[in-house]
């Protein structure tokens, strides 16, 4: 026999203890308490969310926590037509990049309570908190349209 071996089983399992660090821990505790916290940079004065304890643009530490509005604007979005997450969702659904009022960086989240063909750039949305507080962005169930007029493109064009 000179059959070439083309595969072998080599199971690997590695377990980790997560440690979010100081800034992210404050952000996650905030979500648990239904607050969205960002951090303001002392150099460029921009508010980053989620905060990581540093300003990624200026490379300086950020300690100045800012509570952000629960409302924001969809800067861009995509409609998902296939199941790929472990959590099955009703198809199709939309995921959007959202700039919260008062923030200078965008968050990604689901936009629901709207038909996917109605979701658009500039749409105004509000966070809907889930039934169970979590140390996770999933503490927010999704964002829903507020019904306000769309934000002008000029107001979010730098966040695309």
């Amino acid at each position: 026999m000179s059959e070439i071996i083309k595969g072998m089983i080599a199971p690997v399992k590695l377990a980790y203890t997560m440690n979010a660090g100081r800034a992210s821990s404050r952000f996650l505790r905030g979500l648990y308490a239904h607050k969205i916290l960002g951090q303001r940079c002392t150099v460029c004065h921009k508010v980053n969310v989620p905060p990581r304890g540093v300003c990624p643009t200026c490379g300086v530490p950020t300690e100045d926590d800012v509570q952000l509005s629960e409302t924001g604007t969809v800067t861009t979005f995509c409609v998902i037509n296939i199941q790929f997450d472990a959590k099955a969702r009703e198809l199709p659904y939309a995921c959007a990049s959202i700039i919260l009022d008062g923030a200078d960086s965008t968050l990604f989240h689901l936009v629901q309570e709207a038909a996917v063909d109605q979701i658009r750039m500039g749409m105004r949305v509000r966070a809907v908190w889930g039934p169970t507080p979590l140390y996770s962005l999933e503490s927010i169930s999704h964002f829903r349209p507020t019904g306000e007029p769309d934000a002008p493109f000029e107001s979010y064009k730098e966040h695309l």
Binding site: M8, A10, V12, K13, L14, A15, Y16, T17, M18, N19, A20, G21, R22, A23, S24, R52, G53, V54, C55, P56, T57, C58, G59, V60, P61
Partner: protein, 351 residues
């Protein structure tokens, strides 16, 4: 060749568990290293880091750590999935290109988040060795046994390495294990992986380190007493442990020769030996005599943040020149099981 020097070095205190995330750790050392050289962030010519995603279990974790550098406007950046000592080697090569004159090197490692005994198995040959799950302490124990069998050293020699390291780490505020110990008392401790005892093994540490390199006149501007790199080389041995003489380190020997380690007298050698017997092997491979001060920082037996401890050895060796307490020093870094891969960096002051 362009003349390249270490102009500043910074490290965090090393601890069993840090409360910081990677970006927060990196921020601390990058800020300190740049401040010491009075170098503004936007003046960095090249930035390169060393770390491993296997430690945090997060893919592309070095990208998040880059937040601490401020990558806007876009910067020249690179990363090695290795100890920061190899990032420093890349920076040294990059500086030879001639178009830039400064480089920032940093590395970070949180060894506390996973189980190193499992994680380090993943660096072994995946076909014949990794499936057997030999843990790193077990492999170091095999190496230590071979060293005893060679007749060159006794367990007492291992204990003396530990006692000397601890007496040094006592005065290093960044070291994790700082309690002095007596060699004779150590021999009464129980075995962990015979002939290794717990104190023969480096601790599990979290922390980060950063170094700034500069060329020629720029180095003289940024530091009163730059640590000029007169030789740097790294060599690797076969993946197959069974094909190696584990009691010798030919890769260290070769790297040391290429880097000119023993061309003239060394004041200090910082050797990255995560297990006490390895320091004896390295000392022989580099031909170091008893006049050389070995690991005045306490070495890896005082703190061993994975991916960081090698860069710290170079930083500690450079620091002796920067602060005027030595004229010629050597920093060594190792990677892989049983000293598989080794890097030697020789530095000198110049009047």
């Amino acid at each position: 060749m362009r003349d390249v020097a270490v102009v500043s070095f910074a490290q965090t205190p090393f601890v069993r568990h840090t409360n910081s995330n990677d970006a927060e750790l990196v921020m601390e050392v990058v800020t300190a290293a740049l401040d010491r050289a009075h170098l503004p962030r936007h003046d960095i010519g090249f930035c390169v880091s060393g770390s491993s995603d296997f430690l945090t279990g997060v893919p592309f974790s070095f990208v998040a750590a880059l937040d601490a550098v401020g990558a806007w406007p876009p910067i020249r950046e690179s990363h090695v999935e290795m100890d920061g000592a190899w990032a420093l080697y890349e920076a040294w090569v990059r500086l030879q290109h001639g178009d830039i004159d400064t480089a920032l090197i940093y590395s970070f490692g949180r060894s506390s988040l996973g189980d190193l005994q499992d994680i380090l198995v993943q660096q072994l040959d995946p076909y014949y060795l990794a499936p057997l799950q030999p843990d790193p302490i077990g492999l170091a124990g095999i190496q230590a046994n071979a060293l005893l069998d060679s007749g060159r050293f006794r367990e007492r020699d291992f204990a003396e390495v530990v006692a000397r390291s601890r007496s040094h780490s006592q005065s290093n505020p960044n070291a994790q294990l700082r309690k002095p110990v007596q060699a004779s008392a150590l021999l009464d401790a129980p075995y962990l992986a015979p002939p290794l005892r717990k104190h023969d093994c480096s601790p599990i540490s979290d922390g980060a380190a950063a170094i700034v390199l500069a060329t020629g006149d720029r180095a003289r501007q940024l530091s009163k007493r730059p640590a000029w790199i007169t030789g740097i080389d790294h060599r690797i041995e076969t993946h197959s442990l069974g094909a190696r003489d584990l009691t010798r380190s030919p890769s260290t020997e070769r790297a040391g020769k290429e880097a000119g380690a023993t061309k003239s007298a060394l004041d200090v050698a910082e050797l990255h030996a995560p297990y006490s017997p390895q320091e004896l092997i390295l000392k022989e491979a580099l031909g170091l005599d008893d006049k050389v001060s070995i690991n005045p920082s306490g070495g890896a037996l005082g703190a061993n943040a994975l991916m960081v401890a090698g860069l710290v050895r170079i930083g500690e060796a450079a620091q002796r020149i920067l602060d005027g307490s030595a004229n010629r020093t050597l920093g060594h870094a190792t990677s892989g099981p049983c000293l598989q891969q080794n890097l030697v960096c020789v530095m000198e002051s110049r009047s």
